[in-house]
Symmetry: C2
Subunit: 344 residues, 2 copies
DNA sequence: CTGAAAGCGCTTACAG
DNA sequence: CTGAAAGCGCTTACAG
């Protein structure tokens, strides 16, 4: 690890930034008054307020956040930790929407969102160090897989955390917001059944993800134990969905419907079905999950289950702010909704 | 704008984090010695080093970065500012590679990368405030369009900045790293010409982007003024590339080659050519630009111009660290390379 | 090699 | 409504 050598002459300290003292002097008041004016303006006269506003403009003053944070113990920023290989981020439109939603919801509280990617263990170490060093007031954790070592570290450091999706194994200890995956799956499978389909397969997500577990459970809620040959597993990628569909088709040639546990995987499944000469939905009805942008670009367009992503963001942020304020961890489960299009 | 109300009882200060004083006490040395041990270990005896290491383990001490930054005037973090609508980020694989490359290069210097997205003017205000408040030591600016108001703000605040790609209008004042777009375009068009193609069109990028300007210039370097009907403009999206290709084809039905200024646009162009019944490369040879992952997934695979993205990341980081240390802005132009596949 | 002390730029009771 | 003062947790000359 290289280390940055000592600068001969610092660019920025050359013209040292104005401090609160400069503002106080220019406004003819004390430092304390300037600080009060900066923090809500309680107990500051109109005259002082105005003089201070002028002085700030004149000096070009910007608060030094490090100094402020040192005393308030707050950084007014939170980390958005993405515990996935980076490529995933760029493949799954859900992440993008979630990211944007959280950024906006946080802005309401004047909190900045810092995106950190913890794809491999090196990243994770760096992120963990950064977060526990008190750079941020809390963390939004977005990952699909269970057994993330980051959770334990954050928990042991008392970093307020809110997870997106049920954090398998940590349901009691970490706050989270999740869509009602199980009920969504139930709705979809009930619908496929109502369509008169007899051989309904499933491409489930990995068993160490809440979506993998809950959507499969919903499927079984409706169909009972069912034929194990009808159950396949994908890894939430397009290729994974395609591969799972191919296996399913080979094993169950008379399949007439399939519930694929994510739109991205469903897109891969559609390709395989087309190549196999199956018409969708005539021969095989296909249901997805997420109602992401992909659902609209597939041919035919996907019947799917909508996750209320923007509400999820808002609730995650609310929970995190509460946690930072000292509230106990709690969970929010949001309803899902069947969206019927052409694929089923 | 809501403001976070005062906590009744703070989660974290409840069990107040250990400070350097706790470590000093546990190790039986002074605060100064602990600090020296933490910062390189110069002038600290072996015995003291070891006692301090033990004390740190025992207390679970983690440095308070705010306190450190307050005195060093360094935050050991830089912002990666993406000045594009967010969707772009997720569509263009180049950004992903650049992001990863910069993260890793910065890690060598023990600097954390913070991704900030400045898509609309609201975002921009927030990012600007964050950056100029001294949260970060510098910024990596990634945007394609000229006239970004953020540049002026950062410059006036003396924030060290390094841009990715030639910052139109700021070539003198901001450091940047760019690929040699013009030469890359020259290589491509020279190659298409050598193939015996007579009617070579171009789908250029927007005129307010360096890629838009330089790649078109390279085209003209080889072909001279040429027929204006052969020149079309796209917006670097897949749909934009498709639309531009359609216009070009309508205007110049005997077109036998086209240089499309980005792989993503080229992918759209290929779709349009296929729909128009043109074979690629037999009827129309197609050249792209970027050598992004898309170039391998199109049918046929794209002949394109490779940008040395990982070298670009490394150079950007090197330049930024230099800037932070007080060096003057400088520019690095990296060579591009023709990659021949099936589309031309 | 080590410790005592000043100081980084702020906020916040406290006394008026 | 306002100012003086303490203190947040660190680093860094300085003197030894």
């Amino acid at each position: 690890m290289m280390s940055v050598s000592k600068p001969t002459r610092r660019t920025r300290s050359a013209k040292t930034r104005p401090t609160i003292n400069d503002v106080a002097a220019a406004a003819g008041v004390s430092r304390g008054t300037v600080s009060r004016a900066l923090n809500g303006g309680h107990n500051v006269s109109r005259a002082a307020q105005e003089a201070i506003a002028r002085a700030i403009r004149k000096t070009g003053y910007v608060v030094n956040q490090h100094a402020r944070s040192l005393v308030t113990q707050r950084s007014q920023s939170v980390a958005f930790i993405l515990s996935e290989p980076q490529d995933r981020l760029f493949e799954d439109p859900n992440f993008s929407i979630l990211l944007r939603g959280c950024t906006q919801a946080l802005a309401e509280y004047d909190i900045t969102l810092l995106l950190t990617i913890a794809g491999d263990s090196d990243d994770r170490r760096r992120v963990s160090r950064y977060v526990t060093a008190g750079h941020v007031d809390g963390a939004l954790l977005v990952s699909t897989h269970a057994g993330n070592p980051l959770i334990d570290e954050l928990l042991s450091r008392d970093v307020p955390v809110v997870a997106c999706g049920r954090p398998l194994g940590y349901e009691r200890s970490v706050a989270y917001v999740a869509a009602d995956d199980r009920d969504g799956a139930r709705q979809m499978v009930t619908y496929l059944k109502a369509l008169g389909r007899k051989r309904i397969g499933i491409v489930a997500g990995p068993a160490d993800t809440p979506g993998g577990v809950d959507r499969l459970a919903g499927y079984h809620d409706v169909l009972g134990p069912s034929d194990p040959a009808l159950v396949e597993m994908g890894d939430y990628t397009e290729e994974g969905g395609a591969a799972a569909m191919a296996r399913l088709l080979e094993r169950v040639p008379d399949l007439d419907a399939v519930f694929v546990a994510s739109d991205l995987m469903a897109s891969g499944a559609l390709t395989v079905l087309r190549q196999a000469g199956r018409r969708v939905p005539e021969d095989v009805a296909v249901g997805g999950f997420d109602d992401s942008s992909i659902a609209l670009s597939t041919v035919p367009r996907l019947t799917t289950v909508r996750q209320p992503l923007s509400r999820i963001s808002v609730e995650m942020v609310r929970l995190l702010v509460d946690r930072i304020e000292g509230a106990e961890p709690s969970a929010v489960i949001l309803p899902t909704e069947l969206v019927i299009r052409e694929s089923a």
